[in-house]
Symmetry: C2
DNA sequence: GTCTATAGCCTGATAGAC
DNA sequence: GTCTATCAGGCTATAGAC
């Protein structure tokens, strides 16, 4: 009996793992479809075609097309947050950390344009991300603000930078660079177009926007 | 005979005018549809429904859905250019002219979000604007660059501002502010959200990005 | 220029057999 | 969890009568 139960448990685990792999594969294909035909061009039929199954089978994994969008949104937020965290660890504290994390986010966004559009441009009016899918974005704002607070503590920026407004300022510079790059150079990755060189130049203006009272670190 | 010909001409003129009115009405409705269901949600059937005709009738005015997109794109570019020109006339020369025109463009863009998305974000991959529809955009870059050159001549900015890069810099600040405003405050007009106050602040950094050699005008 | 009718596609989603 | 079959609807675009 114990053996039988163990076999049963193993079987369940294996099935759960296999199921998760299928879910990931569906999302991979969905992202590929979006990058070819646009975020709105995603269709479950096309995903099923590429996966080699019939459309109804997908409903065993996602209850609706919007659920697929939500999973893609969440996946993108998680990946973007991870990339930014990793970049932060390798950078000097304060302002360099802010710039490095946003630079990494730009690299990621241009390598995952469709996801980035879904996340930051909301081109599907009928889709609203769930609170759970949106959570990493809130976390990202928090760590941005913490990094800006470090820059203030280090005397690199004035106190106005460690506010919501400071986060908005760096967001505007980042999303502006990305918007121009994606609209005007759809095939170039980050750092290869005419717009990415302006990103560090504009970021270097932050001390002029929030001047520190005394200058310590450069 | 002469009278008959004149009557014929009048009749043709009247028909031409009436036809143009219908075309404008179709574009008005198409813009309204896009603003409700997204740029990609535009369908000729829905336009026909609201116009009170059957879908095939629209093909007497536009040969295809993409032709409607192209006319909308052109219309948006023309309107945006006109708004920017008007704002320029009322502003002091040089830097204030640059800022005033882009501020006016922001007001227009948030009042015509769907058109702005179609023009600046390209959310319909299968749609490429025609050269004719794109022409006003090229003109806009030219007048921006001329205004930046004025600012350089007036000693407000260094010579680096009167370049393609200078135009990119102001474009990034503008499109970044717009992107954040549209994604995060979908219902607020320009000047009422959390992001538009940052637009003049970031624009005020331009002299720090392109420092003039001697300071004349402030 | 309007209409009806229709071709020929696509889609999301469900029911039910296996 | 897979399939077939199907519902119920959408769409662009064309043909042809009036």
């Amino acid at each position: 009996m114990g053996v039988t139960i163990d076999q049963g448990s193993e079987r369940v685990d294996r099935r759960t793992r296999r199921r998760q792999e299928t879910i990931e594969e569906i999302l991979d294909i969905a992202e590929a479809v979006m990058s070819e035909v646009g975020v709105n061009g995603l269709s479950l039929s096309e995903v099923a075609r590429r996966l080699g199954v019939q459309p109804p089978s997908l409903y065993k994994y996602f209850p609706s097309l919007m659920a697929v969008y939500d999973a893609l949104f969440r996946r993108g937020q998680v990946a973007n947050l991870a990339v930014m965290r990793a970049a932060m660890e390798d950078a000097e504290p304060g302002l360099p950390t802010v710039v490095a994390s946003l630079d990494a986010a730009c690299t990621w966004a241009l390598a995952h344009r469709a996801l980035a559009q879904l996340m930051f441009w909301r081109p599907v009016p009928s889709f609203e991300p769930s609170a759970e899918a949106f959570a990493p974005s809130i976390e990202m704002v928090a760590i941005q603000r913490a990094a800006l607070a470090d820059a203030v503590a280090l005397g690199q920026l004035g106190p106005g930078a460690a506010t919501e407004e400071g986060v908005y300022a760096v967001s505007i510079i980042t999303s502006g660079t990305l918007t121009q790059a994606m609209a005007n150079e759809p095939d170039l990755p980050w750092r290869e177009g005419r717009f990415s060189p302006l990103f560090p130049k504009l970021m270097a203006l932050l001390p002029a926007l929030y001047p520190p009272k005394k200058r310590r670190a450069g």
